[in-house]
Amino acid sequence: MINDLMILIFAPLVAGILAWAFDVRGIREAIGFIGAAIPVVILAKTYQTVLSNSINYTITVGGFKLIFQLTALNWYFAAVAAIVGIAMALGMISTSRSGYEWLFALMSYTGVLGVFLSQDFIGFFLLWELMTFASFMMVLRNNRHESLKYFVLSVIGAYAMMLGIAILYAKTGALDFATIRQALYMDLSIGAISKGESALLFVLFLTAFGVKAGAFPLHVWAPGAYSEANQSYTSFFSGALSKAGVYGILLLYILMGAKLYAEFGTFHGHLTFAYVIAWIGAITVVVASFLAVLQEDIRKLFAYSSVGQVGYILLAFGVGTSLGFAGGLFHVLSHAVFKGLFWLVTAAIILQTGKTKFKDMGGLAEKMPFTFAMGLIAVLSLSGIPPMAGFASKWLIYEAAIQAHMPLVAGAIFLGSGLAFAYVVRFLYAVWFGQRPSDLDNVKEAPLPLLIGMAILAIPNILFGVAPGLVTEYINKAFGSEIVGGDYFKLVTPTGTYNALLVTIVLVLGLAIAGLVFLYGATTRKIPVTNTYQSGNPVIEDYNLSIRRNFYKPLAEALDFWLKYSWDRFYERIAGIAEDFADTLRQSFYNGNVQSYSWYLAIVLLILALWGVL
């Protein structure tokens, strides 16, 4: 009865409960780490078997048959979650303060793994809710307003999915994916589900997965939730949990792809519903990147940035061609890896300096060299500098978008990657370079487990950057068809090639040449930061020599027309209206005097009487 999948899914949950029970500093870290390590071990073990066939595991719970299956596709997603999970566990060892955080972090870990592996809607919905609830509890601890905003939005998404599941259950009578897929496929001819209903289903599922992935109109919760939770958990939160939303969209394609195509046809040669997802992704990329550039708080910046990056994945899936899927899946891995790394770096910074605003940080490069190196790798990867994984996946998405004749969407990616470059350099400048504020002088390097966590996330960045073939070859197997050609180091698509190894070698050669020219000149003399040219004025230590506050003021001025509208304020107003409506409803109905109550009874009797006569 105990087989691999059950251990894989429920090991973190059990470990979490144990860690919460034995709330002793040393023990709970060990249990938590083991809990996070088990899935990695099992996934590694099952890698060979998954390529050929799938491992199944079913349990009947409360009359529902929950089916869990490990195929090549969801092995990929589970592996991404596992990598980020192990890094989170290492990060949590040094940043978590109580068993509470371990419990809910590992519970959300179980939720994500369960979501990726489940093959029927009830199991999917159960673990989806569990994941949402666990991540909500992580944020509730620190900030009520942000966590409630996050929970309300994701619960609306979950209940929209619940409604969708119920409608599907009503129409097809089945709950597991295989039969639903079969039924929907046959439904093309019968036409039991009308055009309106399939549109409703599409919208419901899109809202559910859009909220979790942080698509444009529903991205409002992300900055608050990501910045309020314990930072090393946020690496998992934004690295793996947002992938659940993206996996959902993939699921949408698998289950209802044919049906939606039959219902809505094509628009300019693209699948209409896919075109909608592509444009949602594009808008998310542009809006989130613009907002990320203008942020003053390090956590908010990375929150918006991860919303933007998930927008890339949505866009890639929206393109609809197989290359688009390949690009999207690769970006799932690279985003999880470099965003997880960014969040661990933020965790290290906040742990050591206690500051979160850019204006009180600076000049940390000497004090925290290893964290800085990891931050630099993450910067190169996110902004898409060729030898890194970020570039390979972004390159695939470009190829797919332009090849599928979606020019404006590709234009959005260009703008998005430019903005990504801008806010990443802003992070570098404000935190690492420039003059160090006096109170940061005794900052030490981050603790060892956090550093190991960062190293774990940095290696794939470089490894899959130099050899992107490893990932694309696996994706080809997952899809079963040869989407991206070329060997381990060279990606060949029908219209373009990218030899990652050669680019790296030539870059190293170029650096060598430049280094030679550099070494030839006079030996350099290190000078303090106060020895800078301020048009001759003598510069002393307590001059503020670095621009850390509103670094991109001109951009804010150029965009002030657009910045007036904010979805956040819009949602707050709606929540306010709803609450006031609720209050007026209560006052009007339960107004406390018996006469009106007895009137209500009379009215009901009247209805009954009329009912009888009609």
């Binding site: 000149g521 006079a522 030996t523 003399r525 303090p528 106060t530 020895n531 040219y533 048009s535 001759g536 004025n537 003598p538 510069v539 002393i540 307590d542 001059y543 503020n544």
Partner: protein
């Protein structure tokens, strides 16, 4: 702050044995002026860049950054307040650097010989390579001065920076005598209120 500033003296210079003649030719043909115009001569420099005199023919280019510049023009009377800025900028310039002073005021105080606020002899505080007489020399005179600097570089006699390094104590003594000990720190603190 002042004591930390001396390490540029102890730092040993790079001697290019092989390409020295080539570099000397290059230094001669491409002088970059540090655009630091003090006193009334500052207005005399732009004509040099116009079509009539055009010092760009000789590879001279006005450059605002002291790190890159190598020809430092002192173009008028020098007050102690300005002298402090000049000294700091001069020390930021990298090594084969030359100083050219225009007009009589930096040479001997000139018209303001009795003013408490004008430095009488610039040469006491910073080494000077070429001095051009005249109460604001005409552009032709300045061009001649530049030719003179080029000839000195060619012959290797333009060694103002070497003199500054060799007897830095003397220069430092004069400076401290004028401004008082640790004047960089005091000056920095004084302007803190304004920033």
């Amino acid at each position: 702050m002042s004591e930390r500033n001396d390490d540029f003296i102890t730092y040993e210079l790079q001697e290019f044995k092989l390409f020295e003649p080539l570099f000397r030719w290059a230094r001669k043909k491409s002088l970059w002026i540090v655009a630091f115009c003090t006193g009334c001569g500052g207005i005399e420099m732009p004509p040099l860049a116009t079509a009539r005199y055009d010092f760009e023919r000789f590879g001279i280019m006005p450059n605002p950054a002291p790190r890159m510049g190598d020809l430092f023009l002192i173009t008028g009377y020098v007050t102690p307040k300005t002298l402090k800025r000049i000294i700091i900028t001069y020390e930021m310039m990298q090594d084969p650097k030359y100083v050219m002073i225009h007009g009589s005021c930096p040479i001997n105080g000139g018209v303001y010989w009795d003013s408490y606020n004008v430095v009488k002899q610039f040469d006491k505080y910073l080494p000077v390579d070429v001095a051009i007489a005249g109460c604001m020399p005409r552009p032709e005179a300045v061009m001649d001065g530049i030719m003179e600097i080029m000839r000195k570089i060619e012959s290797g006699k333009a060694d103002g920076w070497k003199r500054y390094r060799d007897n830095y104590e003397w220069y430092k003594k004069n400076q401290d005598e004028l401004f008082g000990e640790g004047w960089r720190e005091k000056e920095g603190k004084r302007w803190l209120a304004w920033i």
